[in-house]
């Protein structure tokens, strides 16, 4: 086996991610059951909010970061055909991230960090929670450095050649993550850690929330990037076709890099401390960030159509039936796109400058991001695992049939969970509540959907257990995998000469910095220009 591939590093990272994922799904089932009010015996706000905080951290920080890192190491080494830039440093980053997760887990699980994964000052968690989260982020920065260096080393060794699309997307994500994580890093390092240790007395909540918004939107693209990279570079090959356009993939990645960070104010639409004009500016950028997703939709569906027609599909829609739906990557992408289409419409409403007031902080929002993140992104993580596990372990997937059932169950579970949540939100139910001690007319209206979400949660738990079972059994499979090479999709038109702008990131990084200064410069500076009043820590 080719030693360049970093399969050990990738497997270790992804396993940490999936173990966190399984724990988070178990907590999720407890949460839907507790919250529904159907089982009075398990009702407890202490347990519920500890659980929600842990669920959020495990899903949003742990699963995602480790999946991104593991997939990144594997795509970098296989697409470039090059060793990890500094392997001891990469392992150090991995262990630093693991140490961060374990450090944060203690206060989370003991109810000393029930402040949700969004931190919410002036509620104060135990300092170990903030310190653990910081270590995880610092570990991920090491991954970013590794990715950027690997591309730089490769370009020096291959002057004039085009960086493979998979690597181009991975480095776009690494640069974006460094820029976007600076917001939350500033909040935690300069505000929350010293404040929770008692070194400073108060924290400016307006500044803290502005800094968090800097991170909060682009972080979802950090999670989404591996899904898009798999769709552009692995899916067309798995479907038996070609990638419709390599260049448009680059355009999409560049647009995500440029537009996803400076638009975080749609998370602050309802906050008082930023003027409407700034919110308006960020709203316009928010609509621009829909463009790379629309481009991706076109390119991927066109690539699948090529595959379907090559396999003998005829007519306007006949090619869809001709696709190899027994391939987990194809099935996951198909189901993922359906969820993305539905979730995208919801996202437009959230992004709407004025309409957002009707759904802000209602269960609609929880429904929206579970559909897109829990649906589209996570189902592509499964597909990535099913695609890579045989290549990384040298064992055949055991079994493909179970993998397909798992994907369909996940799709059904997500719909049963999130469609009722959208309805609950329209009916005014707040998110982040552990019970509904409200007016009877509201509570009665909510009840049927409260029961539906339990069914969804249980289906998702069964699906999650099947995922872990398939991955574990694959490690022990006696059947060796014959094809250990990770095959990337060939573009339909071969690349003759890639414009320099689409083969590097210097210009685009500079553009993001300028755009960031324009959209966040004054909104952050204002807190230092006006007289503000900090807030002392409050326990939960």
């Amino acid at each position: 086996m080719n030693d360049d591939k970093a399969a050990g590093l990738a497997l270790a990272s992804m396993w940490v991610g999936f173990i966190a994922f399984l724990a988070a799904v178990v907590l999720g089932v407890y949460q839907v059951a507790e919250r529904s009010g159907t089982f009075p015996a398990i009702e407890s706000p202490e347990l519920y909010f500890a659980s929600v905080s842990t669920h959020g951290v495990l899903m949003a920080f742990v699963l995602t970061t480790f999946l991104v890192m593991g997939f990144g190491y594997y795509t970098a080494t296989t697409s470039l055909g090059q060793k990890v830039w500094n392997k001891p440093l990469a392992w150090f980053g991995f262990w630093l991230s693991v140490a961060g997760v374990l450090t944060a887990a203690v206060p989370l699980l003991t109810g000393h960090a029930s402040v949700l994964y969004t931190f919410y000052p002036p509620l104060k968690a135990h300092p170990a929670f903030y310190i653990g989260a910081t270590l995880l982020v610092v570990g991920s920065w090491i991954w970013c450095l590794e990715m950027i260096m690997m591309m730089a080393v490769w370009k020096r060794a291959h002057p004039g050649e085009t960086v493979p699309l998979a690597m181009y997307g991975t480095v776009a994500n690494a640069i974006m993550w460094v820029i976007t994580s600076l917001g939350v890093a500033s909040e935690v390092l300069f505000q929350l850690i010293p404040w929770s240790l008692g070194l400073i007395e108060t924290v400016d909540v307006g500044l803290a929330r502005t800094l968090f918004s800097w991170t909060l939107h682009a972080i979802v693209y950090f999670w989404l990037f591996p899904a898009y990279i798999a769709m552009y570079t692995l899916l067309p090959k798995a479907a038996g076709g070609r990638l419709f356009s390599d260049q448009m993939g680059r355009v999409a990645f560049i647009m995500l890099l440029v537009f996803s960070v400076p638009i975080g104010f749609h998370h602050l639409y309802m906050d008082p401390f930023q003027a409407a004009g700034w919110k308006f500016l960020h709203m316009t950028g928010t609509f621009m960030v829909a463009v790379p997703t629309l481009i991706t939709g076109f390119t991927i569906i066109a690539s699948l159509e090529i595959a379907g027609r090559l396999r003998g599909g005829k007519g306007l829609f006949g090619w869809i039936g001709a696709l190899p739906w027994s391939n987990p990557m194809v099935t996951a992408a198909g189901l993922g796109f359906l969820m993305l289409a539905v979730g995208g419409f919801g996202g437009m409403i959230n992004a709407s400058y004025a309409m957002n007031a009707m759904v802000h902080n209602t269960q609609w929002v929880t429904g929206h991001f579970h559909l897109i993140f829990g649906g589209t992104v996570v189902i592509m993580y499964f597909a990535i695992a099913y695609h890579l596990w045989p290549k990384m372990t040298g064992r055949q997937l055991q079994s493909n049939g179970m993998a397909l059932t798992q994907l369909w169950l996940w799709f059904i579970g997500i719909l049963v969970l999130t469609l009722p949540w959208h309805q609950l939100g329209l009916d005014g139910q707040p998110r982040r509540i552990s019970s509904t001690p409200y007016d009877a007319s509201l509570v009665e209206m909510w009840q049927p959907n409260e029961v539906a979400m339990i069914v969804g949660g249980v289906i998702l738990l069964i699906s999650a257990l099947m995922l872990i079972l398939v991955l574990v059994k694959t490690h022990g499979n006696a059947q060796a995998e014959s094809n250990l090479e990770l095959e990337y999709a060939e573009p339909l038109h071969s690349i003759l000469r890639m414009p320099r702008l689409m083969n590097g990131f210097g210009f685009w990084t500079l553009l993001v910095v300028v755009y960031m200064i324009a959209s966040y410069g004054y909104p952050i500076a204002q807190f230092f220009l006006m007289e503000t009043h900090g807030t002392v820590p409050w326990s939960i």
Partner: protein, 172 residues
């Protein structure tokens, strides 16, 4: 000549890129147009206050909270959000009348939403939230805290009653 030509070879895909850009600009443009034409903006009010000393301010001292009719016929509602309630806990406002709600937090982060209306804002310690709205229907509404504020968050809600115009507004 299509400026996309040298990055995108396929004419169909170029058409799609233009459609995508057009969609994004039209949707953003429509929202922008309605926001400016109808003067609908999210609640934005850069105004600071010391949340630990609300009782020492004139506006948010306990005696001054509640519903006040203004000379121009509009209504101003002054409220404090604190774990775990809104004060005063019951407010009455007249139907079809411009209402300005000014709310300050005495402790942590809160939010408020009146289901089935567009009355919503975050309430952030250190800042005064201000929402301008009009309630077009009479009836009893719930005012729910919609941001996690601690273990008692679920039970933080109060009552908003929209009454016919001649009955005026009050709080208790």
């Amino acid at each position: 000549m299509d400026p996309l030509k040298h990055i995108c070879e396929d004419p169909l895909e170029r058409k799609w890129v233009w459609i995508s850009l057009f969609l994004a600009i039209v949707m953003g443009g429509m929202l922008g147009y309605y926001a400016i034409a109808s003067n609908i903006h999210p609640p934005s009010n850069v105004e600071t206050i010391d949340s630990s000393r609300l009782h020492l301010t004139e506006e948010f001292a306990e005696d001054n909270l509640g519903v006040k009719a203004n000379p121009d016929g509009t209504v101003t509602v002054t409220m404090v959000a604190a774990r775990y309630g809104f004060y005063p806990p019951r407010i009455e406002v007249p139907v079809d009348t411009p209402v300005t709600l000014r709310i300050a937090s005495a402790d942590v982060l809160h939010g408020v939403h009146v289901p089935n209306t567009n009355m919503a804002t975050m309430i952030v310690p250190g800042y005064i939230s201000e929402v301008n709205t009009t309630f077009p229907e009479t009836g009893e509404f719930s005012l729910l805290c919609n941001e996690y504020c601690g273990l008692g968050h679920d039970s933080m809600w109060s009552r908003l009653v929209v009454v016919p115009k001649n009955e005026g507004g009050q709080s208790s």
